[in-house]
Amino acid sequence: MNLVFTAIVLVSSIILIFTNPSEVFPSMIEGVGGAIDLCFKLCAIYAVWLSVLKIMEKTGLDSGLARLLRPVIRRLFKGESDESEKWISVNLASNMLGMGGASTPAGIKAMASMEKGAKATANMDLLVVINATSIQLIPATIIALRASAGSGNPSSIIAPTLISSTIATVVGVVLTKLFSKDNEDNKPSITQKLKMKLHDFIKRLKTKNSTKSKNKKSGGRP
């Protein structure tokens, strides 16, 4: 994050020095102004949705939802507490139903309850990846936009959107499971890992082939 931020700010500022030097500070301040506007909106959204979530909590509905989604969540997020499972299920369910206002506060609570030690855990990575590649059942805003622009078939985009974002989410989960692991003291880099994985794969292929051709002669390899 530090790298991305510094790179964007540095390169943009350098360009602006040549093209429009008086714009550097005003645009930064304009940015924070936009952030304040957004935060006011977020404050309203959070206040309403956190109240709704509170009612769900007090009526025990959130535990019910967690029980309903537990088979899926247990499999994806191994070794999390009931508290985390509850917030994860609220987060994922509201995301799929398009209730974005409820999913962010639930997600923040889930992340806080999943935290262990000084490093982000693999499960925290996974929750962010699932949210960032969110499977949306009905992209309501875009459909409304298309309808108001006079489209002949505004909902024609549902199927391609659902398919492409589902594939993105599934690949995201697989990649996170592959590359984001906990408790590694001497972490190999991504490229090293890829090499190792490839090596393993080739080895397995070779073993398979040789067992096939030699007929069980070379079984029991590590």
């Binding site: 994050m1 940015g31 709704v52 509170k54 936009l145 622009a149 199927a159 590359f179």
Partner: protein, 168 residues
Amino acid sequence: MSIYILPVIIVALFLYAIVKRVKVYDCFLEGGREGLALVKGVFPYVATIYIAIVLFKVSGLSHHLATALSVPMGYLGIPPEITELMMLVPISGSGTIALVEEVIAEFGVDSYVAKCASVVAGGSETIFYISAVYLSKCKVKHLNRAIPISLFCTLLGTVIGCALCRVM
């Protein structure tokens, strides 16, 4: 049809709360209090991202990068107009919607490019915003691999989405 789903869920929840003898008024007070605290925690993250976004746009860097990337993206079947959208998608939700509107106005709502833009915007999330805001209540300040993985998956989703728009 879909406009009724949310209100009906909320009304059902209120009724259920009455049955369960939950104090709805108190819940809203607590919700408001928590909401304020949450926004206070989220603000520095949002402000920082917004500074980067505005500089990114005002300097023309986003435009230059999109033009530079449109050639390799073309090989993946992504139209040049979508490349700029793709760069905006991970950082700004409102910016994404505005650009989709522009594309629709320029090419017509049922054109191939406008359909691609709709699919890309519909299946996307603001990755940088999510990954920053979700950590706002944690002591940990950095994720491991979530951002590169999410960005890669968004690219993958865009390629697949643009390909699907050709046939669907």
